[in-house]
């Protein structure tokens, strides 16, 4: 079914998928870039954002409150996790960091399963952005279009924080050389807490924004975590622009491959990742020799 209409609609679909992946991945990548911790609980935080948002939605009936509630709750959880657990692991080997974040992820998923059960829950977007839009080449759910806009705004906000504030400057300096920032008399560890919180919030925000698209379940973060890692590797580990580029590329690969043969879309994603690693071992926008 290689028609123009289908090609354009799938490319468009890839953009929507890619935007979401870009947002989740940027959270993952700034945490890794700054703290040096590979956060395997990121998928669980994505899921948690969905549930926290759903609860808020259940109480208030407001989509905007749900998004705010989901994002802020995960921000808080992120800070608690960093203060309570992660900060004791900065000087430990990478394997320990991976194990502890993996464990945190399992605990979060099982706690949610215990409290909410396994049936899927969903959030209804306001009528302004629900329904269907006819784009000429395809009719497309309006909410998914809105997702692109919402994610773009969120990424812009993240960009402004990272590139236009003093905090962002410290974060970016920390990514380059945390030891030197520390030596300059800046409390890097307090910055770490904020960065982990913001990274977690990006995942939680994406989780609640995604809830009307794909109803939330305790396992929803598992699949997305794997794709997110691929995005980060393609874009360049620790690179914020890289995460956005990687996300969009991954979205297009998944979408366009499924036009020809859906069974190969995941395979193609990994094939492209391998290719990128061969050609440019630090990812597309990664920097060689970064600490």
């Amino acid at each position: 079914m290689l028609t123009w209409a289908n090609l354009v609609s799938q490319m468009f679909n890839g953009l929507v998928l890619g935007a979401l992946l870009a947002l989740i991945s940027s959270g993952l990548t700034i945490i890794y870039g700054t703290l040096g911790v590979l956060n395997l609980a990121h998928g669980a935080l994505f899921m948690l954002g969905g549930y926290a948002g759903w609860l808020t939605f259940d109480y208030t009936g407001s989509y905007i409150a749900a998004v705010a509630g989901g994002a802020l709750f995960v921000l808080l959880v992120g800070i608690v996790i960093e203060r309570g657990i992660i900060r004791f692991f900065y000087d430990r080997p990478h394997e320990d960091q991976i194990l502890v974040t993996f464990g945190i992820g399992i605990v979060i998923v099982e706690l949610v399963r215990l409290s909410f059960g396994s049936l899927s829950l969903s959030v209804t977007p306001p009528s302004l952005i629900s329904g269907i839009t006819n784009l000429g080449f395809v009719i497309y759910p309006t909410y998914r279009l809105a997702v692109v806009a919402i994610v773009a705004v969120a990424l812009l906000a993240l960009y402004l924080v990272l590139y236009r504030t003093r905090l962002g400057m410290i974060v970016r300096a920390g990514i380059e050389d945390a030891g030197m920032v520390d030596a300059l008399g800046i409390n890097v560890y307090r910055v770490f807490m904020v960065v982990f919180g913001i990274g977690a919030m990006a995942a939680g925000f994406a989780g609640i924004v995604n809830a009307p698209v794909a109803p939330i379940t305790p396992d929803v973060g598992t699949e997305i975590l794997v794709q997110t890692f691929v995005v980060v590797v393609i874009g360049g580990v620790g690179s914020f622009p890289g995460a956005i580029l990687g996300g969009l590329i991954a979205g297009e690969i998944l979408s366009l491959t499924s036009m020809i043969n859906p069974a190969y879309s995941q395979v193609m994603l990994f094939a492209v990742m391998t290719l990128v690693l061969v050609v440019s071992p630090h990812g597309l926008l990664g920097v060689r020799g970064r600490q």
């Binding site: 079914m1 799938q10 998914r144 698209v213 794909a214 499924s258 036009m259």
Partner: protein, 458 residues
């Protein structure tokens, strides 16, 4: 001196391969000839040669049943429902509930099976074959399980079929829709009671053709494993042959897909009149919801040959109204069947919720197993299997059923339902009206048509 087949004396042992083979064969033949005589004359029934966990697993006051269902992932809701059904069945059998005596005269009067209480363990399969095989192997080896049961994914069911055959332990799959479960992957030690791809297809095809017309274009949305493949094949064949329908696309998605947008765009651009959605459990919920979001259900009719009906609860009556589907059990069957009514009541008293198909199937499987064991008069697996294979009539929740000896498939009715309009629902759980309860026998293929060859008893 003994010589091997090449004529040279064997230097190490003095025994030749041929003589060993010959001796072995003679011994085996001798045992085979002797054993029935020996058994009948000299020993009581439970002195038979050990098979699987027999007799070790049936010597105590209780027998162990290993349950492995998905409690996490795509099929978690169905897995939990199955567990509830199993536990209700064990409770009824252990206490001698009178509902069982209406299903079979052999049941319900005494407590337990052959006087033994049923103990059980539960494990999470995650709907993954490897995980399920590990869990059931543990139940067989450590707990000496005399029966293992549970499934929502056919990939798990066919994997455990093979395990059951190897371990000589009876396995009762619960939900499994693939033709292969009692087809090319059938097992002497496994008995399937639910309906499946071929009967689903042959039951729903006439209803779809009658209501939607002939010569329609149909798109399939199919989970990419044995269940999805066989349901798609059977349904497509039935629709093509009986109504001249034409398949325009088949979208295969992996089990556990969360975003169906790419598949749905392909379907939206395919020009189909009808979407047949074969996804099950949460995959069904997500794909239907997203199809609605993409406006596909405004221009195409939806049909579901193999439906877990509580999908309606998550999808909403609004979307499900008018949709035709094939299913195993829906609670309003109680209007027609006394046993269904008793079952629903017992289930609701215990769990304060309605049973779905998994619970009804789990209950039926356990009851039929207890019946077969009672008729065999022993837990000796070959005798229990032969009792099953006699194909005796059993009163299920939805009318009389019996097992087919050739492929161990239950001959049972298939229920076709249609989604009610939200305004027509009498209670908040009254999602479907029963269109028809189709007699199962004529829907089935010939027993060997899907390549079933049952293995040995021992």
């Amino acid at each position: 001196m003994a010589q091997d087949s090449s004529g040279r004396p064997d230097r190490t042992t003095g025994v030749t391969r041929r003589s060993v083979l010959l001796g072995g064969a003679t011994l085996a033949a001798g045992t085979a000839l002797l054993s029935p005589v020996v058994m009948r004359n000299a020993f009581a029934q439970d002195k038979k040669a050990p098979v699987g966990n027999y007799p070790a697993g049936s010597e105590g006051d209780s027998v162990f049943v290993g349950i492995c269902t998905p409690r996490t992932g795509t099929y978690a809701a169905q897995g939990e429902d199955e567990i509830k059904g199993y536990q209700l069945a064990f409770e009824h059998i252990n206490n001698g509930n009178e509902m069982l005596s209406k299903m079979s005269p052999n049941l319900g009067k005494k407590k337990g099976v052959l006087g033994k209480q049923i103990a059980h363990g539960v494990a999470d399969s995650e709907a993954k074959p490897n995980t399920a095989v590990q869990a059931q192997t543990r139940f067989i080896n450590q707990n000496k399980a005399m029966m293992i049961t549970g499934s929502v994914s056919s990939a798990v069911a066919v994997a455990i079929n093979k395990l059951a055959e190897r371990e000589k332990t009876i396995y009762l799959p619960c939900i499994t829709g693939s033709n292969d479960t009692t087809g090319k992957d059938c097992s002497r030690y496994s008995f399937r009671s639910c309906f499946y791809a071929e009967t689903a297809a042959n039951a729903i095809a006439p209803v779809l053709i009658k209501n939607l017309g002939k010569n329609k274009k149909v798109a399939f949305l199919t989970p990419d494993y044995t269940y999805g493949h066989t349901v798609r094949e059977s349904t497509q064949k039935a629709l093509e042959q009986q109504g001249g329908w034409q398949a325009v696309t088949n979208q295969l998605s992996p089990l556990g897909t969360t975003d169906f947008s790419s598949y749905l765009l392909n379907i939206a651009n395919s020009g189909a009149d009808v979407v047949v959605n074969i996804n099950f459990g949460r995959d069904a919920v997500l794909s239907i919801k997203q199809a609605k979001q993409f406006g596909i259900l405004d221009s195409m009719k939806l049909a579901i040959p193999y439906l877990a009906p509580f999908v309606a609860e998550e999808v909403g009556a609004d979307t499900m109204q008018g949709v035709f589907a094939g299913t195993d059990y829906w609670w309003t069957l109680e209007d027609k069947f006394e046993l269904a009514k008793m079952f629903n009541k017992a289930f609701r008293d215990k769990y304060n919720t309605y049973p779905e198909w998994g619970a009804a199937e789990a209950y039926l499987q356990v009851a039929m197993w207890a019946d077969a064991v009672e008729r065999a008069g022993s837990f000796y697996p070959p005798d229990v299997i032969k009792a099953y294979e006699k194909g005796e009539k059993f009163e299920s929740l939805t009318g009389p059923v019996h097992f087919r000896a050739e492929d161990h498939q239950l001959v049972r009715p298939v229920t076709i339902v249609q989604g009610k309009k939200p305004g027509d629902m009498k209670t908040d759980n009254d999602y479907f009206s029963i269109v028809e309860t189709v007699d199962g026998g004529p829907l089935m293929q010939k027993p060997d048509a899907f390549g079933c060859k049952l293995g040995d008893y021992t």
